[in-house]
Structures are given as C-alpha cells and as structure tokens.
C-alpha cells in the first residue's frame, strides 16, 4: 500500500511565525506535490518537485517555499505565516505519467 504521511494533522500558529510542513512517501515516487484546499476553490497546486533538489512553482506559490533534500521527503515552508494561509494543506506523490497521485491525510493549519 502506498503511504504518504504528513507531520501534523492540526497546527495552530501565530502571524509572522515560520511554519514547516513535512511530507514523507514510501513508494519511491519521483514526483511530489503540495496543494491547499479551500471551500469553493478546490485543490490548488502550490509547488511540486519531480526530482531531488528540483522544484517548480504551481499556481499559487506566493508566500511559500519548498525543500526536497531526499527523494522520499518534501517540505513546505511558510516563511512568515499570515491569516490568509489558514487552510487545509495536502501533500501528494506520484510515479509520473498518466497515473494517479496519492495523497496524505492533510494538515489543517490555522494562523491567528
């Protein structure tokens, strides 16, 4: 079974804090993705990575950065959290090609 795990299910942070969201997959997938889900907006791609140390911006990268030092791990960083970054954050991994992506359980982040 493919497993994608995320470091926290729920997180509460203060405005201006630096926030790290960690994601680990165990299927040796090349590709990893970070999305956020907001009501009425669906899933929007923040960043993705198709190889170690490689990253590409998604549709809404502003205010975020990422790190992929190892193939199995993909981190999302909020340099200075703001209230409009309160959201559900979802990590996914995929083998590439016309195949599905596998999602982690999500992190519900609240920025106060």
């Amino acid at each position: 079974d493919v497993k994608v795990t995320q470091s926290s299910r729920y997180l509460v942070k203060r405005t201006g804090e630096k926030v790290f969201l960690e994601c680990v997959q165990d299927m040796d997938h090349e590709n990893m993705f970070w999305y956020r889900q907001d009501p009425g907006l669906g899933l929007r791609l923040i960043y993705f990575s198709y190889d170690v140390k490689m990253k590409e911006k998604g549709d809404i990268p502003e205010g975020y950065s990422v790190s992929r030092e190892k193939k199995e791990r993909f981190s999302l960083i909020l340099e200075s959290a703001s209230t409009n970054q309160t959201s559900m954050y979802l990590c996914a991994s995929g083998a590439g090609g016309p195949r599905e992506q596998f999602f982690g359980p999500g992190t519900r982040l609240t920025v106060l």
């Binding site: 009425g40 669906g42 993705f48 982690g104």
Partner: protein, 113 residues
C-alpha cells in the same frame, strides 16, 4: 481561468438511486482524467480514471464517461450508498507536462436513506 469546472457544488440522492456527477474542461491537451473522493479531515482518495483514448471506464459501482467533443466527463455511481457521501473532485492531466493535475472545485454528494 478555471480549466476544470464542476458547476454543481452539491448533489443530494436517495440511497439505491444513481448519482451523476459532472465535470467540464476547456483544455484540449488534457489526456487523462481522474475522480477523487474526499471525506472531511482526510486526504482525497483515488476513485477511477479514464484515458482520453477511451469513452468509458467501469469499476464496480463506479463508471466514468468521457465525451471529448463536448469536453465533458461524468461519474456515475450505481447504486448510491450512504457511505458515498463525500466531496468528489475531478482532475485532468495535460499531455507533455510534468504530471501536474488540474482539479475542479468539487461536488458534495449526500446520499440519504
């Protein structure tokens, strides 16, 4: 510009009946389409997919239909069960991309007894 659209935010269906969820797209370069199901406070789980070279794919109670000329796909669930109550997202992949998926905004399905 929303390339994948789910125009119905919600759908309510009686148990045992058919549920039909719809999705429209605008990009003719999409070559692979997927449906995901999401329960609250959980990540989306893959349900079923279809390649653009097919017009139908079936897996148990779930069937996806693709109409390329209309740029429309639909998910049929027969018979619907209360456990199917969730948010359903359609997604599409464009040919010659780095495997990005474009997601619709989701349809909340409620199956009542």
């Amino acid at each position: 510009d929303q390339q994948v659209k789910q125009n119905s935010p919600s759908l309510s269906v009686q148990e045992g009946r058919i549920s039909i969820l719809n999705c429209d797209y605008t990009n003719s370069m999409f070559d692979y389409f997927l449906w995901y199901k999401k329960y609250p406070a959980e990540g989306p789980t893959f349900l079923i997919s279809i390649s653009s070279i097919k017009d139908k794919n079936e897996d148990g109670r779930f069937t996806v239909f693709l109409n390329k000329s209309a740029k429309h796909l639909s998910l049929h669930i027969v018979p619907s069960q209360p456990g199917d109550s969730a948010v359903y997202f359609c997604a599409a992949r464009a040919r010659m991309t780095t495997d990005k998926l474009i997601f619709g905004t989701g349809t909340r399905l409620q199956v009542f007894p």
